[in-house]
Symmetry: C2
Subunit: 516 residues, 2 copies
């Protein structure tokens, strides 16, 4: 077997090199790669020793080629930092490369096409952000961003996470790092089964749980199942999460809006509908914040049992509960009708993309097959870290800490709204990370999108309630309070109140009491 097969770097092979003039050949190859963009500004060249070894040539050849390119100003090096590409050569046939190319890696190639036209922006939708996006005019940054659905990421427990990761790496077997069970790490599923039983009343064995890449993936898997096994219609809360709606629609389902009132989803509307499925947020409805009333819970589960319908329970922010009695998950009462899903997006960070799906057993095998076909299973290390955080009690400590902080923020925003906009009705205060502001009878004609637009011009980003509706309804504003300090929230409330009052001079400003 011969010793050297060439270098991965630029796929250089000594076999394609000339017998003489190796230095020139190498310098040409590197120069060519800089010109055609394979080597960009800042790209490292291999260490001379390493490349000489790969190519089976003397180190002097490499050193000389690098020197030649250095003299041309194309590459340069600092001791210890290696040799890197400094700038593209000036090629007369191409457009002159501006000086800006020297400092910005992003803009290094004005001649090549930049971003594809359909460059997607970041996703910032409702309680369960999904494919839906805010209209363009709200996407620009606001001074105070009260978009709902975003937790306080400044509180992410970086130290605890790193400690847990060290422990997880210490303990991980090679099997843990291999192609694993598509349902997810057994260790995590065991911890989750205990955690969900204690905190949410869930009835699930570790083997019932499928670890997913966030609630979004749970909906993708369930959407595929429903599309293949039902007529594709699904009842959804109206108003409700636009992200969830858009996502299920992507998978071929047809969302059917069911109104939400002060007791949650109007379950009576499901009777006789023949709908094969319903998706809802019973613990804290998005965006109205109401909890599904006990009598409706019972009727919903009766309806599902009678018609063999599937209930998708999105428990997206159940961990944030301030001054109302805890309610177990729907799944606890009807594990054979309810597919339960939740995630760490609101307790730790959405960027973890780590959630769970607990489906009825009759769906389990199909959903595992779908998960396997989607990605063979979720990444292992974050699962092991989360298992460690649950087992050590760190997750629970973190949630208690954040909940306390969020309660203070909620109090600040709620108090300021009562002070500055007393005629508005504020709902959803007992739990979650957002409030819903609605207006009195006289304000039924308010265009909340227009109002949100004006508030945005005052530096505060809020969601108009209409943006989360499928059918027209009363106007409102959805205000997330998770990411701002009490002072910032009070300032936001002042501006919202001031813009809202200016926007409706006809209405009874200063009438005092709640009108809603």
């Amino acid at each position: 077997m011969q010793a050297s097969g060439g270098a991965d770097f630029l796929q250089l092979s000594p076999r394609s090199a000339p017998a003489r003039g190796l230095t020139g050949w190498l310098a040409d190859a590197i120069r060519g790669a800089i010109i055609d963009g394979r080597l960009r500004v800042g790209a490292p060249l291999p260490a001379t020793r390493v490349l000489a070894d790969d190519l089976g040539v003397s180190r002097g050849v490499i050193v000389e080629a690098y020197q030649r390119l250095t003299q041309e100003g194309l590459v340069g090096g600092r001791p210890g930092a290696g040799t890197r590409v400094l700038r593209p050569p000036r090629v007369s046939a191409h457009a002159e490369v501006s000086e800006a190319a020297e400092v910005s890696v992003d803009d290094a190639e004005p001649g090549e096409a930049g971003s594809p036209t359909a460059s997607p922006g970041p996703v910032r939708a409702g309680g369960m952000p999904g494919p839906g996006e805010l209209p363009q005019r709200w996407r620009s940054q606001a001074e105070l961003d009260l978009s709902p659905g975003v937790p306080d990421l400044s509180g992410f427990p970086r130290g605890a996470w790193l400690r847990a990761e060290r422990m997880a790496l210490d303990r991980a077997s090679t099997a843990d790092l291999g192609y694993g069970d598509p349902r997810g790490s057994e260790l995590l599923r065991r911890e989750l089964a205990g955690w969900l039983a204690r905190a949410r009343g869930l009835r699930a064995d570790p083997d019932d749980i499928i670890v997913v890449t966030g609630v979004a993936q749970a909906l993708a898997l369930l959407g595929q199942w429903l599309k293949a096994n039902t007529d594709g219609r699904i009842a959804m809360e109206d108003p409700g999460s636009r992200g969830s709606r858009d996502q299920l629609a992507y998978w071929g389902l047809r969302p059917v809006p069911i109104p939400v009132d002060d007791e949650g989803l109007r379950v009576a509307d499901l009777a006789g509908s023949g709908l094969p499925a319903v998706m809802l947020t019973p613990a804290h409805q998005f965006p109205t914040g109401v909890a599904l009333a006990p009598v409706r819970r019972r009727r919903l589960l009766d309806w599902a049992a009678d018609t063999d319908a599937l209930v998708i329970e999105d428990d997206y922010d159940a961990e944030y509960r301030y001054d109302r009695a805890p309610v177990p998950a729907l799944q606890a009462s009807a594990p054979s009708q309810v597919a339960y899903t939740g995630s760490t997006s609101k307790t730790l960070a959405p960027g973890l993309r780590l959630g769970w799906l607990v489906p009825p057993r009759r769906l389990h095998a199909d959903l595992v097959a779908a998960k396997r076909a989607a990605d063979l299973g979720s990444p292992a290390l974050p699962q092991l870290v989360l298992a460690q955080l649950i087992a050590s009690g760190e997750l629970e400590r973190h949630i208690r800490l954040v909940r306390k902080r969020q309660r203070t923020r909620r109090d600040a925003l709620f108090g300021a709204l009562r002070e500055h906009l007393p005629e508005a009705r504020v709902r959803g205060v007992a739990a979650g990370l957002h409030l819903l502001v609605t207006f009195g009878e006289g304000d039924i004609a308010i265009d909340d999108a227009e109002l949100a637009d004006r508030i945005h011009r005052a530096g505060v980003l809020v969601h108009p309630l209409s943006w989360h509706r499928q059918r027209p309804g009363a106007p409102g504003l959805v205000l997330g309070y998770a990411v701002h300090t009490p002072d910032q929230l009070r300032e936001a409330a002042r501006r919202i109140a001031s813009v809202t009052r200016a926007a409706r001079p006809a209405a009874g400003v200063g009438t005092g009491g709640r009108l809603g």
Copy 2:
């Protein structure tokens, strides 16, 4: 606003508690949860102080309830470790709970259903493991497991990973932890663009890259696109990765087998086929190990350009190249026809589920929409860690180290096969993590599945080539060498040779030269 809304723990609410007898009420609630399985053996009870605070009752109530349960033998505690559930109570109406329940969390609930019937086993398929599974008789553990497709996980760079994670957590912005770009972290896409350009010749801007949860997800996204935009047929290598084939079939595609010979895929067979797509492993064909011959590379890309077909390039183990010249990715020659995909599964660990997809630009927006609908984007932290490992040069150092180790293993297995089974032909030695053993003309009738079965009984797990075929063809054995030491591999070769020779007494044993 009232102070206490109750406890998440068992959803206990002081509002549902009696005015008197709080201790009994609490003990009953906890006992009930232990009986119905919400609290399992080993589950922690909240600290008395915390639960007293949640419920707005005196701590003495909690302490007394815990003491009552301790006396019943249901819970117990050690100082510092908190109070935990010890065993389920003996309930006469139910089946007696065996003593085994005390020691095993898994078996704690004999009355409840255990695993679902369709409990999926771990996935261990070919070069790109997918939904396909080995037949049951090969799934049991063998003393020496030479399944291809599994890298050496004992070499996972745990220290480097943890260091990079610390740095990533230090530097991560709150935006990095939020709902991100469905294409993946910009930092990682920038590092990948440079890395893939240098090491594989790829022509891609950071914005062209979609970070995916392994090559499996890349195929899922491409499969959806092809199903929606073509007649659904796709040419695939035969023999080829069974996992990839099964996976694309899941997404509704119809794989069309195209034979592979010593120069790779028989590209001529594509002419006039009208096939809208082809998937192949050009750098190191799975499982034969051949590289696509230069003239075939050219013809394949010509065919794709002429017929506007999509070429899916699975670059699954390009990092392992020992004694042959490096070949740039196909994508480097035809970025508008080729969808390139690769992952860290063979260089770091499959459990990371971290890969990339570089599609032609005309597919880009659709694939990003599909990625978003699948999971909103891949987990952020592992992406930031990988970006750090590339930027610091740690990934390259790791690959060089592992490649050296794998070369030694390859040499050991190859040498032992030449010594003990000289009449066999061994292919695919110049690269990758596996070899293909085929036999002489006289052995064309060997049943390789039967042979692999006998070898398995001798304690060595290998894949029969027929298992990776769509159509019948010459027999062979696929041997992965990544996870064993040279000594183990020599022992495996001895056993394979011994079983193989015993299995075919009629053939010319000891004829010496290569027959294939």
